[in-house]
């Protein structure tokens, strides 16, 4: 369920009608924009007119503006990113749609991993635009600060970032200043000058003050705009302005205090009451204020206050929502606390009730907590759990639940369960168990002390507890108990609770997969898919297909893997645009299958399609998987250096997901090194990973152990020492047994081949042929080719030896394999480009020059400098290059150019 987006946070405040124009500041801001600075920082205390200035500036800067007014809730990274996308969508309707879907998918990735995708999309914006973060000082969460730093670091040239804040942000400001990448305005720049103060007081506010009075006011307020505004309000309609100015400038009072007092005293009592009672609200609307003040007529009141310049700021064009200027609200709240301390919680409770009826749970919860009405808050928090868990905002939810008294939580089993899940999401495994235990107690001995608000969730409580325990066991690496809990959860899940069913099944499959029991994993997942087809949950089906296919490949059932890919591709293309999440993985997996069968051309085509589909919308861990698949293709094409480069890239874009890492990149690299004869490097890898022939055999390390066997065989071949070959033989024997136990025929074939090679290295041909024969028999029905060809010349000789017996039933297959060995392995120079036309327009000399620089670490402005062109001209070049290469970002352009051998 998507988070409700508050449009008021995205509202670009229009420049105010009566405004002191500040050309000296606007010019500086425009200067920064036109010189290609990436950041404008406006850093000054409250009341210095930051928002007003930025709104005046962006209204006239001629660029589309995305505006985000931040609040405390944006300290949740998922929430921040959701609003960031929503803000960008106000200037480009479709931007970030995939990112939003990813953030709200049932198993969302780490939010920070979606930033690169979002940045790529910003590069496709047709015109230069401005992104404003207002009130950035409310952010104090490290993940959000890191996200901002990343955003700024990689900001495409067509986006200019503006930050307005009371506190310097955690960014490399000194470096940005030194490189002139930032325009900066601070309190000194923002203070009203004497002339501005005069214009404001006399022309805007219609006071007729002499120079001496203006000078006195300007000196007393030190040009602080909020102070001058309050002073002006206090003087309007006063006959004795001179007296006011004398007392004000002669007092040592804290200005804000003094002046708000003055302003409040000048209001009729009903207005003063309204101001105090509504000061507890972050946002004000007529109906909400009616509810809080228990009176009618708030809408008119709000309009009156706005007309009277009483620090009320509209948040939309319809005059539905407003907020008080932060400073004014703070002082009003202090006055309220003093004047009506016992009213405060009543006001908050009324606000909470209104928000609850308006279906805005977050605000309802915040006000219930502020009212210290914990019973009410606990009920609301319990009901909010299932929606928030799905939208990846468990950290916000966790903040609320932690504000509740513990005793109140413990008598609520559903709330305790939500608490446990939120703790699990945050990696607090120990604390979560205590909460699960609390929830469980009520199942055994329900009494009338128990409180349940969300009856629906309570029905699934036993299943949910078991699911949470399965998740926890998996996180602790305790695979057997994860399997046990997940099985228990499935048995306990009510017939119609699809969400818990999906969760429990996914965990069971993951646990079985991690334990290496592929046959059981395949059974559960295949049953699950049958169930998904029945319930019509096509998206989950598509999203989990590559896992099912991977498991089938591990079982050595390539045909079945292929048919599940084909089936899901048919479903996905049937759904039309935009392709569902996970579609890119279908093409990628199918590409790997073609690779295994030795059809390099079809493999390359499918990987290319995966890339095209994936760049539109994707799971965030897909780029890593694609790089690994592309590396395997390069390896098959005989381009080992290219394969290594792609593996490095895979490491760079790697994001840890819920899947166990069964093909770790360092091991894949070690395999390529062995092919290159770089034995010492491969041996160093084995040492660094702490691998040994006698270590425990676990499925999650199987790939590394098989690679270790390769390293040992290579060492044995080179030093003719039997020692390492004996080690290899011993290790392979144990690996084979483990693989057969788990039904992993894919692994078994590999191991058998290595056994044959180990014997061959010892010149023991009679013992080399039987395992080879078994491998051939297992692989033949599925048409595997790569698995043999990958082992190189030594394997070719063995197969030749084996196929001397022409009457052998496998001799036709052996011939096919031998033919595959002798295929030319040079990388094809003409990649397949999926385009409207197969002809790509050639790049001009200048574009080639730019392309070479794109391959470097230089930033856009640095490249422009080097070529002695403006940033605008450079952008025209890069856009043309991207268009011709059919890509939409720098990295993809470089990679495509490498594929086309343009360097």
């Amino acid at each position: 369920m998507p988070t409700a987006i508050l449009a008021t946070k995205l509202y670009v405040p229009p420049p105010r009608a009566n405004l002191v124009l500040r050309p000296r500041l606007i010019e500086r801001l425009n200067g920064g924009l036109s010189s290609g600075c990436k950041l404008t920082l406006i850093s000054a205390p409250a009341g210095f007119g930051k928002t007003t200035l930025v709104s005046e500036w962006v209204a006239g800067c001629g660029r589309p503006v995305a505006w985000l007014s931040l609040d405390e809730g944006d300290n949740d990274l998922a929430c921040f990113l959701t609003y960031l996308v929503a803000a960008l969508q106000t200037i480009a309707a479709n931007i970030g749609a995939g990112v939003l879907r990813t953030l709200q998918s049932p198993q969302p990735p780490a939010p920070v991993s979606v930033l690169p995708i979002l940045l790529n999309e910003i590069t496709t914006l047709p015109e230069d635009s401005v992104l404003v973060f207002d009130d950035y000082h409310v952010i104090d969460a490290k993940p959000v600060e890191n996200a901002l730093a990343f955003l700024l670091e990689h900001l495409p040239p067509q986006m200019h970032l503006v930050i307005a804040t009371r506190e310097d942000p955690d960014l490399p400001l000194a470096r940005l200043r030194a490189r002139s990448q930032m325009t900066e305005l601070r309190a000194t720049d923002l203070r009203f000058t004497r002339a501005e103060a005069a214009e404001f007081l006399n022309r805007m506010m219609g006071l007729n003050l002499g120079d001496a009075d203006i000078a006195a006011l300007e000196a007393r307020t030190e040009g602080w705009i909020a102070g001058l505004q309050l002073a002006a309000l206090s003087m309007q309609g006063r006959s004795d302005t001179a007296g006011f100015i004398r007392s004000f400038t002669g007092s040592h009072h804290f200005i804000l205090d003094y002046l708000v007092e003055e302003v409040l005293q000048r209001q009729p009592e009903h207005v003063r009451n309204f101001l105090l009672q509504t000061a507890i609200l972050d946002r004000l609307s007529g109906p909400l204020c009616d509810a809080v003040t228990a009176q009618d007529g708030s809408r008119e009141m709000l309009e009156t206050l706005e007309r009277g310049n009483l620090f009320l700021i509209p948040l939309d064009d319809q005059r539905q929502w407003y907020r008080y200027h932060h400073l004014f609200a703070e002082v009003l709240q202090a006055h309220l606390l003093e004047a009506q301390p016992d009213r405060v919680s009543t006001l908050h409770r009324r606000a909470s009730e209104w928000y609850e009826q308006s279906r805005l749970p977050p605000d309802a919860i915040r006000h219930a907590l502020a009212a210290e009405d914990f019973e009410r808050a606990a009920g609301l928090i319990e009901l909010a759990w299932s929606a928030m868990a799905l939208s990846y905002q468990s950290s916000t939810w966790l903040g609320w639940v932690k504000a509740l008294p513990d005793g109140l939580i413990r008598i609520r089993p559903v709330l305790s369960l939500g608490y446990a899940w939120a703790l699990l999401d945050g990696g607090e495994l120990e604390a979560s168990e205590a909460r699960l235990h609390d929830a469980e107690c009520w199942l055994d001995t329900p009494t009338d002390k128990m409180v349940v608000v969300d009856k629906e969730q309570f029905r699934s409580l036993p299943a949910s507890i078991a699911t949470a325990r399965a998740f926890r066991s998996l996180a602790l690496g305790n695979v057997p108990s994860a399997v046990e809990y997940a099985q228990q959860a499935l048995e306990l899940t009510p017939e119609d609770d699809q969400a818990t069913h999906i969760q429990a099944t996914s965990l069971l499959v993951l646990a079985l997969y991690a334990s290496g029991d592929m046959e059981a994993a395949e059974r559960s997942l295949a049953d699950f898919h049958t169930n998904l087809r029945k319930t019509g949950d096509i998206l989950t089906l598509i999203g989990t297909t590559f896992l099912l296919a991977d498991i089938r490949v591990a079982l050595g059932r390539l045909h079945e893997a292929e048919s599940s890919y084909q089936h899901s591709i048919r479903l996905a293309t049937g759904l039309g645009e935009p392709m569902p999440l996970g579609t890119a993985d279908l093409y990628r997996g199918l590409g790997e299958l073609y690779l295994e069968r030795g059809d390099l051309e079809a493999a390359a085509q499918h990987l290319q399609t995966s890339q095209t589909v994936g760049e539109q919308t994707t799971l965030t861990d897909w780029p890593h998987r694609l790089c690994v698949s592309q590396a395997r293709l390069k390896e098959a094409q005989g381009d080992l250096d290219g394969a290594l480069a792609l593996l490095d890239e895979a490491e760079r874009v790697h994001i840890r997901g819920p899947l166990p890492e069964v093909r770790p990149v360092p091991a894949l690299k070690a395999r390529v090194w062995l092919k290159q004869g770089r034995l010492a490097e491969a041996q160093r890898w084995a040492r660094e990973q702490g691998l040994s022939a006698d270590a425990d055999i676990r499925y999650t390390r199987e790939f590394e152990h098989i690679t270790l066997a390769r390293v040992l065989i290579a060492a044995g071949r080179s030093d003719r020492e039997a020692g390492s070959l004996d080690e290899a033989t011993r290790l392979l024997g144990r690996l084979l047994q483990a693989a057969e136990t788990g039904g992993r025929m894919g692994s078994a074939i590999q191991i058998l081949l290595l056994q044959a090679l180990a014997c061959q290295a010892q010149n023991d041909l009679s013992n080399a042929l039987p395992p080879l024969e078994r491998a051939l028999a297992l692989a033949e029905p599925e048409g595997s080719v790569r698995i043999f060809v990958d082992e190189g010349e030594a394997m070719r000789l063995l197969i030749e030896e084996q196929s001397r017996d022409r009457g052998h039933p496998l001799s036709a297959y052996a011939d096919k394999l031998l033919a595959a060995f002798t295929q030319p392995v040079a990388a094809p120079r003409t990649p397949i480009i999926h385009h409207d036309s197969d002809m790509i327009e050639p790049l001009s000399e200048r574009e080639l020059e730019v392309l070479k620089l794109l391959r470097t670490e230089l930033s856009g402005p640095e490249i422009a400098q080097q070529l002695i062109v403006s940033l605008h001209t450079l952008r025209t070049h890069t856009n043309n290059i991207f268009k011709k290469l059919g890509v939409n970002n720098r990295r993809a352009a470089v990679r495509r150019a490498e594929e086309l051998a343009l360097f």
Binding site: P45, A46, H137, W224, F254, I255, D257, E261, L327, E330
Partner: protein, 90 residues
């Protein structure tokens, strides 16, 4: 800003007493706002807020409150003995 004495106090879980000086004379109503710190008006138009501060996190919270009111911060430091103090509220 972290003196040896303060580390010692924090280690012994004694809330350290702090004084925060701001520009302008504050009304008494802000005593609640500043979580029970004593408000003392000083010559030259300064206000001294004095009282026990649980730990660094609590200190930063107080400073943020001052920031959000647009107050000008003059000095922050451990309180000298003999300073006025807020009555202990148990």
């Amino acid at each position: 800003m972290k003196s040896d004495k303060q580390t010692y106090d924090e280690r012994h879980n004694q809330p350290q007493r702090y004084e925060i000086r701001i520009k302008g004379h504050l009304d008494d109503r802000w005593a609640d706002w500043f979580e029970g710190l004593a408000i003392t008006l000083e010559e030259g138009g300064y206000t001294l807020l004095t009282g026990p501060v649980t730990d660094q996190a609590a200190l930063h919270r107080l400073l943020r409150k001052a920031r959000d009111l647009g107050m000008v911060l003059v000095s922050v430091g451990p309180a000298r003995p003999g300073q006025a103090d807020a009555p202990d509220v148990e």
